[in-house]
């Protein structure tokens, strides 16, 4: 009786483990397939000359898309990082309970909005109504909307992890709330805040949908005008050129995906390093 029961339990355990392994393997297989395809095809397709040539020149290159992505992400980060960090500080340190709850809820909603909707909304508002046309600024704003919730929530979460005892030490010394945050509280939270910004940059860099309707596309280098001038970007190359029936177009698409993968990987490594440093410091 007992042995039959324990055999049944053992069988259940094995089925459970088996299912878990299978699920993990499926996920890893998908990921590995993706990475191997991109790295394999990308590394073969990539030419150093792609860094120095725009897409419509011969040989064809990615310079316009790289510079465009850079311009868009820098613009978006310049807007999203200060807003997100200050917003996170406000929610964590200053906002009355109800206001904090409301902002938190709105942030959740914002991060749940499909990015194509953000793009189309940007199109109606900035490109058409405000007359900016397809432009870097419109694209930058659209990316800001995507990036902002990550930075805000990460800032708030890292500040919330700073123990109350440290705040009380600062207040007990006669610091105002603002002095406490600007002199003391932000320091232990800094690597967490930086992580949020970096993750947001990685996410912004990989976005396509919000840019389709706002940044447009340009096959020449950006002229760094904020409005009335379209910009190219790497994800557009991936999205469009993979559909074209030419091997040269495919090479560009895979190279663009390869570059994006490398940059995002690099950002993730930096984020890991920041997080380890934080946990080492306690």
């Amino acid at each position: 009786m007992r042995t039959a029961h324990s055999r049944w339990r053992k069988w259940q355990a094995n089925v459970g483990w088996g299912a878990s392994w299978l699920a993990t393997a499926l996920v890893l297989f998908g990921l590995a397939d993706l990475v191997i395809t991109i790295v394999g095809r990308g590394a073969v397709s990539f030419r150093w000359s792609m860094l120095t040539h725009v897409i419509q020149s011969t040989p064809s290159g990615l310079q316009n898309a790289i510079l465009g992505t850079l311009e868009l992400v820098v613009l978006a980060t310049l807007m999203a990082a200060p807003l997100g960090i200050l917003g996170g500080v406000y929610v964590s340190e200053f906002a009355p309970l109800q206001v904090a709850k409301t902002i938190r809820f709105l942030t959740e909603v914002l991060s749940g909005v499909p990015s194509i909707v953000v793009g189309y909304f940007g199109y109606l508002l900035m490109v058409l109504a405000w007359g900016w046309k397809f432009s870097a600024l419109a694209g930058g704003f659209a990316l800001t909307v995507i990036m902002l919730p990550y930075i805000l929530r990460n800032t708030e979460a890292s500040l919330q992890q700073v123990p109350l005892s440290l705040r009380e030490a600062a207040w007990g010394l006669g610091m105002t709330r603002f002095q406490a945050i600007s002199r003391v509280i932000w320091r232990p939270a800094a690597s967490g805040m930086a992580t949020g910004v970096l993750m947001a940059i990685a996410i912004g860099m990989g976005e396509t949908a919000p840019l389709l309707y706002t940044a447009g596309w340009s096959s020449v280098n950006p002229n760094f005008q904020l409005v009335h001038s379209q910009v190219g970007y790497l994800t557009y190359v991936v999205w469009t050129y993979i559909e074209q029936p030419y091997e040269s177009a495919h090479q560009l698409a895979y190279s663009a995906a390869f570059l994006l993968l490398l940059v995002v990987l690099f950002i993730n490594v930096v984020v890991r390093a920041l997080l380890t440093r934080r946990s080492l410091r306690g």
């Binding site: 123990p163 030490a169 600062a170 007990g172 010394l173 006669g174 610091m175 105002t176 003391v184 320091r187």
Partner: protein
């Protein structure tokens, strides 16, 4: 110059829960007053009302008045109150990312002292008073977290006295420390009382007997008995005080 604190009809709430029920006390200047009582009796809440830290907690509320000398502390900016009334907490809480030097200098800088020489002098003086100078004088630029627990607590005391408050509140300052560090903190209290009015919350009755001139016994948010320490420990008038100090409860 240290000044006495007088407390009248002080009540404190956490949400709807009344934690302090009408406390009246006169805390004499340049003396050590110990607050003893069982857990949850309102000791910490009481001293956190003196520097207005209680009201920083969400849902917390205070009524009544607290005077430092002639000044009504609930009519001035709480930030100014906390500059006059320093506090040392139960667990050492140095600013973890700042150096030993900056932990102490920060309060002074916020108070408007920026002269390098003046800062050094004040940091040294505070560390001397906190009996820590000898141990850290060669490593002032190291992070405060490199110190031991007992040293960190003395650093926190140095940080509190560096800005020259008139009162020093200590919320079970030795409860997280080993016996040797505890002894050092107690010696320190003895030395500091000439300069400051000290209010110390403690769980440890021997400690109260050792360091305090006056002792107040709190129970359920009320002051049961407040007299000089010898009287409280040898000849208490209230039955409940006697029960507590003889270890019958708490």
């Amino acid at each position: 110059m240290s000044q006495p604190i007088s407390v009248h009809n002080l009540k404190a709430w956490y949400g709807t829960q009344l934690t302090l029920k009408s406390v009246d006390m006169e805390l004499p200047a340049s003396q050590v007053t110990a607050i003893i009582g069982p857990s949850g009796c309102g000791k910490s809440t009481f001293i956190r009302c003196l520097n207005r830290l209680h009201e920083t907690l969400p849902g917390a509320r205070v009524e009544g008045d607290v005077h430092l000398g002639t000044q009504d502390l609930y009519k001035v900016d709480p930030v100014d109150v906390r500059r006059m009334i320093g506090m040392v907490f139960q667990k050492p809480n140095p600013f973890p990312t700042l150096s030993i030097f900056d932990n102490i200098a920060l309060g002074l800088r916020l108070g408007g002292v920026h002269n390098r020489g003046q800062l050094r002098e004040a940091v040294e003086r505070s560390l001397q008073m906190a009996a820590l100078w000898g141990e850290v004088k060669d490593r002032l630029s190291e992070p405060a977290t490199s110190l031991s627990g007992g040293q960190q607590q003395r650093l926190c005391i140095a940080r509190a006295i560096a800005v020259q408050p008139e009162v020093l509140l200590m919320d079970e300052p030795a409860s997280a420390l080993d016996p040797v560090s505890t002894l050092r903190v107690e010696e320190l209290v003895e030395q500091l009382k000439d300069t400051y009015t000290i209010v110390i919350v403690t769980h440890n009755m021997q400690q109260a007997a050792r360091v305090a001139d006056e002792t107040a016994f709190f129970l359920n948010g009320e002051v049961v008995e407040f007299a000089d320490t010898t009287t409280i420990f040898t000849n208490p008038t209230d039955k409940r005080t006697e029960d507590y100090i003889t270890g019958r409860f708490g």
